[in-house]
């Protein structure tokens, strides 16, 4: 029996810096009716907000041209819709830039809808933050839902570009008009969106199965990104393009289904609360999994808001390496030397450890009997300002002259201290608007 699929949607990007070619392969295949591009991580919007403040036409994803130049022509040729949050802090400017790019690419007539309204910085009095605002607020953006993206698609948009939206909404929106309209089909569309939104994480990336050979470097370098063939009731077949390397099975699907959802019985999105505990996966072919069963558990009264607060100070992150016989012992002695030099720093504001030993999992790292051939001393410190950061950087550099022998390969970076805040806003206060551009 040939399954009567209502619609097919693929994922072409799972974060702002994701690979470009998998989306192009999906668009060329003719197997998907829409491609979602998730390009806006929680904090990715901070530089975008700052760019827009300096230039009213800036603030969209700086990779817009690189990502869409190879994608628009095959998408247009195959009638494949593009839905993306790469509008970041300036969806209308992104819409204009995409229309201009489409003209350059001889894609005249493409209709671009930019959805704006997630910026709730002007509605601060209505946001209930889960913790105290401590520092200068850079911006506050509500997560809009698929309901805000469906309208422009129905009105014939070839590309829908927005800023902050629930990641799953980018993939659910093009599906919804083709489903049966039941609450559980909405839940299923959002579930499919959640499964797709992290691109390669559904198809064998960032995954290792028990007792099985991992994907090879060649397979990972050419990893197929996921697509879903969806039935009217919302059940779906999750897969990759024929011939694309990857792994789609019960385990990769389950690990991604539960990724970052906290309570699996209550995945909260702007459009609905979804119960994942009723989902079932069934392997129906190689790299082909059937998904059924997500349950609609109501609509949240509020939308989640992400706020960003610039805190005073910066984090300095510095390393110095040691090699040769005795490298590990010299690295440890360098760490002890540095602890003595910086003994007046409050313990909570500084961390000293060894890359290759305990710089990632700290005290939970599993000790090994083999001594590393090379090791790097790492220090991160919370500094009040640039001058303060220079002090700790200089102390590490000084180890090259006054520390254990042959300290080498020094590197350092400084990171702004930006805290992410979560808040909630009554949904009726967030009113998305649409700006059209035509190529």
């Amino acid at each position: 029996m040939v399954a009567p699929f209502a619609f097919s949607v693929g994922c072409g990007a799972g974060f702002a810096g994701d690979r470009i070619d998998p989306a192009v392969a999906l668009a060329r295949s003719g197997q998907v009716d829409a491609i979602g591009l998730e390009c806006l991580a929680e904090r990715t919007i901070v530089p975008a907000i700052r760019a827009r403040a300096a230039n009213p036409e800036a603030g969209a994803d700086p990779r817009l041209r690189r990502r869409l130049t190879p994608l628009l022509p095959p998408a247009r040729q195959n009638g494949c819709k593009i839905i993306s949050n790469l509008g970041a802090a300036n969806p209308p400017a992104a819409g204009r830039a995409i229309a201009a790019l489409a003209r350059e690419l001889d894609c005249q007539g493409m209709r671009i809808a930019a959805v704006e309204g997630d910026d709730v910085t002007g509605l601060l009095n209505h946001i209930a933050w889960t913790e105290k605002l401590d520092g200068q607020l850079i911006g506050a953006h509500a997560y809009i839902g698929a309901d805000a993206l469906v309208g422009p698609l129905a009105e014939g948009a070839d590309v829908v570009v927005c800023g902050r939206a629930a990641d799953s909404a980018l993939f659910a929106a093009p599906l919804l008009p083709h489903l049966d309209g039941s609450p559980d089909s909405l839940a299923a569309a959002l579930t499919i969106g959640h499964l797709l939104e992290c691109s390669g994480q559904l198809t064998g990336g960032n995954f290792e199965g028990p007792g099985e050979p991992p994907l090879t470097a060649e397979e990972l370098a050419n990893l197929g990104y996921p697509l879903a063939h969806v039935m009217a009731d919302g059940s779906a077949e999750l897969t990759i393009l024929d011939g694309a390397p990857g792994r789609v099975d019960r385990m990769t699907c389950t690990v991604q289904l539960l990724y970052e959802v906290h309570d699996p019985a209550a995945y909260i999105t702007p459009d609905a609360i979804v119960d994942f505990t009723t989902v079932r996966f069934q392997q129906i072919g190689r790299n082909r999994v059937r998904m059924t069963g997500p349950t609609h558990r109501g609509v949240p009264p509020t939308l989640k808001v992400s706020g960003f607060v610039a805190r005073r100070g910066i984090i300095a992150d510095i390393e110095i390496g040691f090699a040769g016989t005795g490298a590990y012992e010299r690295t440890r002695r360098a760490a002890d030397t540095l602890r003595l030099r910086l003994s007046d720093w409050p313990e909570t504001n500084i961390r000293i450890d060894i890359v290759g030993v305990n710089s990632i999992l700290g005290g939970a790292s599993v000790p090994t009997n083999a001594l590393p051939a090379e090791a790097r001393l790492h220090v991160s410190a919370i500094c009040t300002d640039e001058a303060h950061a220079l002090i700790v950087e200089d102390e590490v550099y000084a180890l090259t002259l006054s520390g254990p022998a042959a300290g080498a390969g020094v590197r350092s970076e400084r990171r702004a201290r930006i805290d992410t805040l979560t808040g909630f806003i009554p949904r009726e206060l967030v009113k998305p608007t649409v700006h059209w551009s035509v190529a």
């Binding site: 904090r43 994480q201 960032n206 995954f207 290792e208 199965g209 028990p210 007792g211 385990m251 389950t254 690990v255 991604q256 289904l257 539960l258 990724y259 970052e260 959802v261 906290h262 309570d263 699996p264 019985a265 994942f276 505990t277 009723t278 989902v279 079932r280 996966f281 984090i315 992150d317 390393e319 500084i350 961390r351 450890d353 890359v355 710089s359 990632i360 999992l361 700290g362 005290g363 939970a364 599993v366 790492h378 991160s380 410190a381 919370i382 990171r415 201290r417 930006i418 805290d419 992410t420 979560t422």
Partner: protein, 109 residues
């Protein structure tokens, strides 16, 4: 036997919370993991790198266990003093390295 011999996993985050998923390779493995990976056991394992309370969500229908540690990443991932960014993605190895009862081989094969 270690958890990674019978399960796969992934770590994520949301704000201050660390979010860990473990998926068993089959029902026998799930039973062992469900018995062994209690919220207290996971809390004790995480204590040396990400201390704080742990809530467990068993999902038997998907042969999976979820663990959420709401205070494990104070200030969120960008406030971390670990080397580089996103150390928490490796935090799943704290669970994957935990010891579970052996002798599963004959049951699962």
């Amino acid at each position: 036997m270690k958890v990674f011999e019978i399960a796969a996993g992934r770590a994520g985050d949301k704000g201050d919370a660390l979010d860990l998923t473990i998926v068993a390779r089959d029902e026998a493995a799930y039973e062992v993991l469900e018995r062994t990976l209690t919220a207290d056991a996971v809390k004790a394992a995480l204590d040396r790198v990400a201390p704080g309370p742990v809530t467990r969500y068993p999902v038997p229908g998907l042969l999976a266990l979820k663990f959420v540690a709401p205070q494990a990443l104070p200030g969120g991932v960008y406030a971390s003093l670990h080397a580089g960014l996103h150390w928490q993605k490796a935090a799943i190895w704290v669970l994957l390295e935990m010891e579970v009862e052996g002798g599963l081989g004959s049951v699962c094969k």
